[in-house]
Symmetry: C2
Subunit: 362 residues, 2 copies
Amino acid sequence: MSLPEGLATPALMVDVDVLDRNIRRMAEASLSQGFALRPHAKTHKCLQIADRQLLAGARGLSVATISEAEAFARGGVDDLFIAFPVWPDADKARRLRRLADEVALRVGAESVEGVQRLGDAVRGSARPVEVLVEVDSGNHRTGVPPGSAGEVGKAAMDAGLAVAGVFTFPGHGYGHDAQARERAARDEERALSEAARTLRDLGLDIQVVSGGSTPTVGRWQPGPVNELRPGVYVFNDATQLALGSCGADDLALAAAATVISVPAPDRFVLDVGSKVLGADASPWVTGHGYLPRFPQATVGGLWEHHAVVGLPAGVEGPRLGSVVAVVPNHVCTPVNLADELVVVQGREVVDRWPVAARGANT
Amino acid sequence: MSLPEGLATPALMVDVDVLDRNIRRMAEASLSQGFALRPHAKTHKCLQIADRQLLAGARGLSVATISEAEAFARGGVDDLFIAFPVWPDADKARRLRRLADEVALRVGAESVEGVQRLGDAVRGSARPVEVLVEVDSGNHRTGVPPGSAGEVGKAAMDAGLAVAGVFTFPGHGYGHDAQARERAARDEERALSEAARTLRDLGLDIQVVSGGSTPTVGRWQPGPVNELRPGVYVFNDATQLALGSCGADDLALAAAATVISVPAPDRFVLDVGSKVLGADASPWVTGHGYLPRFPQATVGGLWEHHAVVGLPAGVEGPRLGSVVAVVPNHVCTPVNLADELVVVQGREVVDRWPVAARGANT
């Protein structure tokens, strides 16, 4: 990633050529094998990137919250899946109903009570809301065991909702070795197949069998799963690089940071901290980010507005006042901290994209 | 902290009575011993809280960035210290000059080149900009060794800047035991005294000797240090509770979260994650937060929009759909993620305060 001259720091930069290549590659790889692609937009929260994903062939977007769905609906996206077991309180019920009048809406569910509330919330909406039952494929976060999908599916039918499919998040695919990722992809396939079968046994027309995170997505063979929801691939990050699911040339986002202090030859301090890079630790990265120009450096200390970067003996660091790029450990967090992304092509700033769904957590 | 009925989650709540008590106590403790109080506003980023601090007797505010200073200046605060070694690029130089025309401005510095650029930036401003030399008192982040303060001070004089004092951040005072905090406070005192002496030896009129984080602030005795800059004390957090620098009744901020899943009797899942609570690990807290109603619970898993909370055997958890409070590990990060704070008194929502300086990182 090249650094434009005169960029005020700290700032999040996106290399638009790398971004476009990442989007195109994922679309080609998914669509050529017959998968529908529904990228997770929580990673970028930008209308401009959503448009690029849809233009490349994505069927719609996945989002994490109702307010993310609202932001993308305002931007003209008309096919949205809230990949989260929404619990509609009074406010959320009103907003879900409004969304259901405007866009093709799918919502995640994993409890009988949850779908009952969801049914109450969207009853009589202009378009039928589709439910996808969340299945736990080994990550042990939310989702029912595959064999229990039927209970949720039945409750959804009783609540007047269309049950369109099943989904899972294979978070345990973030393993260091290819075998762990392979195993997670197989777990995912097995869990989704069983859940889909359970629902079909109830007479439901299960159209959507949805899985896939960025690390597992390349592991797929066409089979029972027919929709993929990767998110991070648009930008990639230091974790994906360490996992081997991308190369250094595929890193599309970095923070531009100024060297504000050089206390000793073996370390320097940057004007970025957890309020720019996020504070996500990564079991696969030593420290708090990756510096493409100083790949041997370690961001050993991270405060809110300081990053202390260590260098091995004999490696020359940057000069006081110079600007360097830092690729975050986990890209979804820093994007949600920024009001805009500075769009870079070559060494030029060509645009600034608002992070339209920043802070859209409800 | 009481939970109001019908609050849409996730949301950050501030208990205004606890907040006011925290502000009053810190002001009384500091002022009664003759310290000037200049609280760090990066913790709250709210004009309403700044006003309360100033009303309680704070002399001005500390901030971390020029854009935080701009936000508080717009809100009417006229005495601001940017407690950071600012490196003025072209954009920052323009903005510093504008600030210097409007408010009493102090800026941190710790390099000869940094103060030279600062001098160029603010030359001819309506009010003289004062420099405070940053000293490393043992935290090893930024700041010069105490004996080197003179070089920076001399360069500042040469650049036409007024050198008003010295400051440090005793980050190593975040130790588990009282002795570590005591030692950090003594380190701080020693380093600041030496740096101040070095500058006075140059003939400079050193007025400000500034230190103090929330954990060390209670450790002070009047002496060479004459200004304190605690930040976190307004809200406190799970780390301060674990360190013993506050009690459970002094926690003024928590995230309100809904129980969206109860997969087993020993755990439940909340609709808050790192995009609400922040992802700061704390060496003094097991997990990612503290639940006042379930003090034995551990937030063992944190994703962007999910917190998986574990319970010890025999402890009954909350029901699906109920709302619980989660106190974050480190309060400065979640506040910077939220657009507003929901102000609670008793069980009523009495106001909503915009986080005016949210994302103000440049």
